[in-house]
């Protein structure tokens, strides 16, 4: 398989590929590489932070049958906030280091599809792992599992959805955002299906609880069918519509292939997906198709803030001494994991970019990895003041981002790469001609300095 195709594949399936790893797979065929990637994601490793303290409190409460008083609630909330930060940081690290590359990228994708947030670490951690578990499984099972998640019954008010007083929030978003897309159902369909989800709730441990007395057992008429439907029945009826498969395929195409949708390719995907809603098969089809490697699809997408940050960490391992700064960077770049803007999720694409985020993105590689320094000495000169400059910059900016970078790791993996070939490993698209002229006028001080120069270009924002 061609090197630039392998790189393209890995940029989309994961967050890039290091030169050493590229060398290892370069003799393999496309099918083999894709199969290996899928095999590597067969297992699902849960992402967990230690929440035993909260579990103990909750367990005690449930044993004694006592209610949650205000003080205990506040205590749980306080621990929860700290643990959410830990989970966020662990997730970022997991993305940069996991061997289940495809599963983790899919989890990230689904987190912006089945959008949810909750202030309880117990519920949100469980929700996150449900995304991970079903990320490559059967889409129908996935939707059913999501509908029963504690965090989701809270987020979209299924918990308040009772026979006497139905709440339509979940039913509406189920169709509008999770399965069919706007305009493929009626208000009446929402009203009727909402009744099928009455009685959904959860206990303090985050387990699904079905409250029979709150459930509406009378007939519902949904998409021209009438019966005493449960929530699961409703989901099954939705899955019978090809539009559901098409809606999901369109979203996957936008995320993994190109912002601009090709109707033909999405139809091919839908044919595959509609058969059995097997997500893994769908992804294999996409990554082995010829069109996935079309020139116009390579290096054409704008990285999300998380793709940007994780990609950076993947190439040059960087540790944050203050984990709050990991959160701060996400916030400044406009995407904080576990904290989506609303149920529609992040819009993505060009919406990531405004005048603040572009400037910050161009500066971050140097700030985080190189004491804010970007070498700009002309060809034929030596960067004699580099070390002094770096010292000075460190004093000035060190406080803002206190990081530890592992350039040895970078050197090890880029050892066999010629300096002039660095572009193809760091960037996903050709450099703008004028920027290239400028870049070529500069002295090539070292691979490290050149890497920082490349990462400080708008081209580095592409994947």
């Amino acid at each position: 398989m061609k090197a630039n195709h392998i790189q393209h594949l890995y940029r989309r399936v994961g967050f890039g590929i290091l030169p050493t790893a590229l060398q290892n797979v370069s003799t393999k065929s496309k099918k083999q590489i894709v199969d290996d990637l899928i095999k590597a994601s067969k297992d699902s490793t849960k992402l967990e932070v230690d929440i035993s303290e909260i579990k103990d409190i909750v367990g005690g409460l449930m044993m004694s049958g006592s209610k949650l008083d205000a003080d205990t609630r506040r205590k749980i909330q306080k621990i929860s906030r700290q643990k959410q930060l830990e989970l966020n940081v662990s997730w970022i690290n997991r993305l940069a280091n996991s061997s289940e590359v495809l599963r983790e990228k899919m989890t990230l994708f689904w987190a912006n599809h089945f959008v949810c947030e909750d202030n309880s670490i117990v519920y949100i951690q469980q929700f996150n792992n449900t995304l991970r578990e079903h990320a490559l499984g059967n889409f129908g099972d996935f939707v059913k599992a999501i509908s029963k998640e504690a965090a989701m019954t809270k987020y979209l008010n299924t918990k308040q959805n009772r026979k006497q007083k139905p709440n339509e929030n979940f039913a509406r978003e189920l169709m509008e955002l999770f399965t069919l897309g706007e305009g493929h159902y009626t208000e009446e369909d929402i009203k009727e299906s909402a009744r099928a989800f009455t009685g959904y709730s959860h206990n303090l441990r985050g387990e699904f609880v079905f409250r029979k007395r709150q459930h509406d057992y009378t007939d519902k008429t949904f998409f021209e069918k009438t019966g005493n439907f449960t929530g699961e029945d409703v989901i099954d009826i939705i899955l019978e519509k090809r539009q559901c498969a098409k809606y999901i395929c369109t979203k996957i195409y936008r995320y993994f292939v190109n912002d601009a949708v090709s109707e033909t390719h999405v139809n091919e995907m839908t044919d595959i997906f509609f058969k059995d809603y097997n997500i893994e098969n769908l992804m294999q089809f996409v990554f082995t198709s010829n069109w996935f490697y079309d020139e116009k699809n390579i290096g054409s997408k704008i990285k999300s803030p998380v793709e940007f940050l994780v990609g950076l960490k993947y190439t040059v391992p960087v540790m944050f001494k203050n984990s709050r700064q990991v959160l701060q960077i996400q916030r400044l770049l406009g995407q904080t994991l576990l904290d989506p803007p609303n149920v529609a999720g992040w819009k993505g694409g060009r919406n990531w970019i405004d005048s603040n985020t572009i400037v910050l993105r161009l500066k971050l590689p140097s700030l985080l990895l190189n004491n804010a320094y970007i070498s700009n000495v002309k060809n034929g000169n030596e960067d004699g003041f580099m070390d002094t400059n770096k010292e000075e910059f460190k004093k000035k900016y060190g406080r803002r981002f206190n990081t530890e970078t592992d350039w040895n790791y970078f050197e090890k993996h880029f050892k066999n790469v010629l300096l002039q070939d660095m572009d193809s490993h760091i960037l996903a698209c050709p450099v703008n001609e004028d920027a290239k002229t400028y870049l070529q006028s500069l002295a090539k001080v070292s691979k490290q300095e050149y890497c920082i120069q490349l990462m400080s270009l708008p081209e580095y924002q592409m994947c």
């Binding site: 205000a70 509406r172 912002d259 054409s300 997408k301 704008i302 916030r331 400044l332 406009g334 803007p341 609303n342 149920v343 529609a344 819009k347 694409g349 060009r350 919406n351 970019i353 405004d354 005048s355 603040n356 572009i358 400037v359 910050l360 161009l362 500066k363 970007i374 070498s375 700009n376 698209c429 703008n432 001609e433 004028d434 920027a435 002229t437 400028y438 120069q453 400080s456 270009l457 708008p458 081209e459 924002q461 592409m462």
Partner: protein, 396 residues
Amino acid sequence: MDRRKFLKQSSLASSLFFVPSFVRAFEEVAANKLGYKRLVIIQLSGGNDGLNTVVPFRNDLYYKERPTIGLAQNDIIKLNDEVGLNASLAPLKRLYDKGYVSIINNVGYPNPIRSHFRSMDIWQTASDSNQYSQSGWIGRYLDTYGKDPHSAIEIDDSLSLAMKGERMNAIATKDPKIMYNLSKGPYLKNINKHLKDKHLSEHNLGYLYKSMIAAESSAKYIYETSKTVTSKKEYPKNKFGKQMKTTAQLINSHVQTKVYYTSLGGFDTHVNQKATQKRLLNMYAESVEAFVEDLKANNTFKDTLILTFSEFGRRVKQNASVGTDHGTANNVFIIGENLKSQGLYNNMASLSDLDDNGDLKFEIDFRTIYATVLDKWLEVDDKKVLNKSFSQLNFI
């Protein structure tokens, strides 16, 4: 395609050569004729308790529902025989007495949502409560009427949804100098300088380059225009005071910005509300008074309108933790020099006719306030920005 749009697009593609210079000159005149009227938005985040901000102190129901957090007469500054302001708003009362304040009561929207972030989205996007819009109302104003990204500035690190349009985004900066320094650097400057070919592609990479160029020029423009003006006025030494001071500096240096956005958080007073709200309202009122005086001293207050809102009010009945839970309708403050309606714009909300949750039933849709501000103050087509026609109020 209308002419303005055509001009904008063609200048983006940098084919300014094709546009006769007299057309461009005309465009300039048209833009300047709009005047320098500015809007300053202050967002009170967390859901400020409107009933303890503007207090119906003659209403028995108020004290019945709020036996411990209800404000006694000595915690209130009377506006008339029935309504008073929270005493911590004394600086605001001084502005009120000069006729600079209009208080619009009972503002909300149909089918209110009691989630902070959803309700805030609704206020920021001006959408219906069951609609998810990805662009804010000021962002859409920029889309159609903004000349540059810095036509609207949020004094913060990141940009609120309110300030994001479909095609254009406002600038967010807490400190123009820091933003300028970040955008500067010899390496980036040289790349910018080397870009001879301004015919950047319409693809994503071209978009990134355009954003980079716009950011650099806006950062430079804001910094260089405002750096010589320092405010002599003393502001309260807190985050919000700093925001208002920065806003005043930008206004007084005549930066060409139509909308400024600031915010003060912490109003989610579920527990022991009284002290927290008192501190926050005082912070708000002191900073706003300093701001108004600062603008007056620089003759810019007459062209400035300040709008203060919160995503929702709070429940009428206090809760078990000496606080209040999320509610619905709330009051909005309009502050300016030549208001048509000074003082209380309308009656207080009824405390007996509540909805099923025990919350106020709104009387005035917040979007009628936006429509009024857009049409009468910013002098643009409010329907284009709000995607819908709303009746207008009479405060300006």
